[in-house]
């Protein structure tokens, strides 16, 4: 035992909460795989398909070039919709939020820590996808870096807000997982995982670009190709981010 009394070193309460949550995050092997492992792995698998690395005249580029922004979105969708909601709902369900509300620290510290950690994991996973695309498959880094970053940050916000809204509405962790799943697949679809958004039929595309991850997919593609993302896509993304955040804050229950 190294139990020699250390002079009391003060950690700020919110830092202490964040540190504890980070430790717990690292202990969830399943979550770690889905958030940090799955999107890069999927990119590697798709990149291994030979025809995806050949120029596609229909798209005007290679399929793998289109898939990198899509997998960046997959990383954010997995963390926001799959990883986070069951944790937060579970904290409410099991009285962990109530327990913390008996201390001088508001239980919102737990929520911000969770959103920060999941957001960071999503960003990290997305960066790994960009790096793999560049190094393994010769996909160019986004040419319009500022526009890409802006669209990316709006998407992170929208994904976390959507996850927070699911956490707010689902009464139990099981239901949060279920609802997350229901929203998960349409989100992956709209992000262009099955078919790139630009190759979708006209009417479908009109609808998909009004969804947060459809708009995000288009904005990221445009920025990757070197254009400033269309304001319509950025506007749709920003509107979703605001509406989802307000709704989550409005309906969140502490117990």
């Amino acid at each position: 035992m190294s139990a020699i009394a250390v002079p009391v070193r003060r950690t700020s309460p919110r830092t202490a909460v964040l540190r504890a949550e980070a430790r717990l995050f690292r202990r969830e092997a399943g979550t770690l795989f889905w958030t940090l492992g799955f999107p890069p792995l999927l990119l590697v698998i798709l990149g291994s398909i030979k025809s995806f690395r050949k120029f596609d005249p229909g798209l005007g580029m290679r399929v793998i070039d289109v898939y990198v922004p899509t997998l960046v979105l997959v990383a954010l969708i997995v963390t926001g919709l799959q990883a986070m909601p069951p944790v937060i709902t579970g904290y409410r369900e099991r009285g962990i939020l109530r327990r913390m509300s008996l201390t001088p620290v508001r239980p919102s510290a737990l929520l911000t820590a969770q959103m920060g950690l999941n957001g960071a994991a999503g960003v990290l996973s997305a960066l790994v996808c960009l790096a793999i695309g560049r190094l393994a498959f010769d996909v160019q880094l986004p040419k319009q870096a500022l526009g890409y970053t802006l669209a990316f940050l709006l998407t992170v916000t929208a994904a976390l807000a959507l996850g927070a809204l699911i956490s707010a509405l689902a009464p139990t962790a099981r239901l949060a997982t279920g609802v997350g799943m229901v929203v998960f697949f349409p989100s992956l679809f709209s992000a262009g995982l099955w078919a790139p958004v630009q190759s979708m039929p006209h009417t479908l595309r009109e609808i998909v670009v009004l969804l947060p991850f459809g708009a995000a997919s288009q904005a990221l593609q445009q920025a990757a190709a070197g254009h400033w993302p269309a304001w319509s896509h950025l506007g749709v993304l920003a509107a979703w981010a605001v509406v989802l955040s307000v709704a989550a804050a409005r309906w969140f229950r502490w117990e």
Binding site: A3, A5, R10, T11, A16, A20, R23, R98, L102, P104
Partner: protein, 304 residues
């Protein structure tokens, strides 16, 4: 020792859920240094009452003060004088005991050193165990530690020993007595008579949202009808009318030939002379003081 005003003051407390009055005009004061019990059947409004003291509920009427502070309006200040263990609450399953103690210590401006606290609660050997695999008793001891970690003046313990085996329950009682010995006031919610009788200096009995009695355990017992219990097996049947005529008689029960009477000392004297007159022998005669259990049933009007 007793300071002028109670450290916890509840007056005219009222709480309504969806049109149903759960707590109705509840008033009591807890003096510094005492163990004050709130005793009542399930659903009587005990937990709601202490949740109002903890500032987790907005009152529908009345007034609550903890060390002179309003638990809702001055919530941040109240959290530093009041620690609590909640009836149904958990921690993150993969958080270890040490991490939980360190985390909660970091939430308070002037925390207690968690090491001696863990030592006193017998958690030292479990510091690296995750919350999810602790036994019920160990979880409760950890929650007591977390309730004490902010160096509070009052702790609220809600159904502390529910679900524990008798051994763990007794160990936990010792911990509560130890807490009080350190000068911390304890507000204890329970539905176990034995626990209330053993630990509490004073008890408020709550039934259907109202306080039906407030006294020391001994006071509650002697105030209730049938504070003395007499039981014996008569050698011959006794006349019912003569039994009913005994002074201060509260209850009569005949089961398998054994008579159990509730009453007072007066009842005992009269019974003994009745038996002598009728030349009836009382086999296995036992005269005992009623327990809080009997008093409780009497006070809450629970039908037996």
């Amino acid at each position: 020792m007793n300071s002028a005003s109670p450290i916890v003051e509840v007056s005219g407390l009222r709480k309504v859920y969806g049109g149903r009055v759960v707590v109705d005009d509840v008033s009591f004061g807890v003096d510094e240094g005492e163990i004050f019990g709130i005793l009542g059947p399930n659903g009587a409004g005990k937990t709601t009452t202490v949740e109002c003291v903890e500032g987790l509920r907005i009152l529908d009427g009345g007034r609550v003060r903890v060390a002179g502070l309003d638990p809702v309006a001055d919530h941040a200040a109240v959290t530093q004088v009041l620690g609590a263990q909640l009836q149904e609450s958990e921690l993150q399953a993969k958080l270890t005991v040490r991490e939980a103690l360190e985390l909660y210590a970091a939430l308070y401006p002037n925390p207690a050193d968690w090491r001696p606290l863990a030592e006193r609660l017998g958690l030292t050997g479990r510091l690296n165990t995750r919350f999810g695999v602790l036994s019920g008793g160990q979880k409760q001891r950890l929650f007591i530690a977390l309730a004490l970690i902010g160096n509070p003046r009052v702790v609220v313990l809600d159904e502390l020993t529910t679900g524990l085996d008798p051994r763990a329950r007794r160990d936990t009682w010792e911990v509560v007595e130890d807490v009080r010995a350190r000068g911390v006031t304890v507000l204890l919610v329970t539905h176990f008579m034995e626990e209330a009788q053993r630990l509490c200096d004073r008890i408020a009995v709550i039934d259907q949202g109202r306080i039906t009695a407030l006294d020391t355990p001994q006071g509650l017992i002697s105030a209730s009808a049938g504070s003395t219990v007499i039981s014996f097996t008569p050698s011959a049947p006794l006349d019912n009318d003569e039994l009913a005529a005994l002074p201060a008689l509260a209850s009569v029960e005949l089961k398998d030939g054994r008579l159990t009477l509730g009453g007072s000392d007066e009842t005992v004297t009269a019974l003994l002379s009745l038996l002598a007159r009728r030349r009836i022998t009382a086999h296995q005669l036992r005269v005992t003081d009623a327990t809080l259990d009997d008093a409780f049933l009497d006070l809450t009007g629970a039908t037996k």
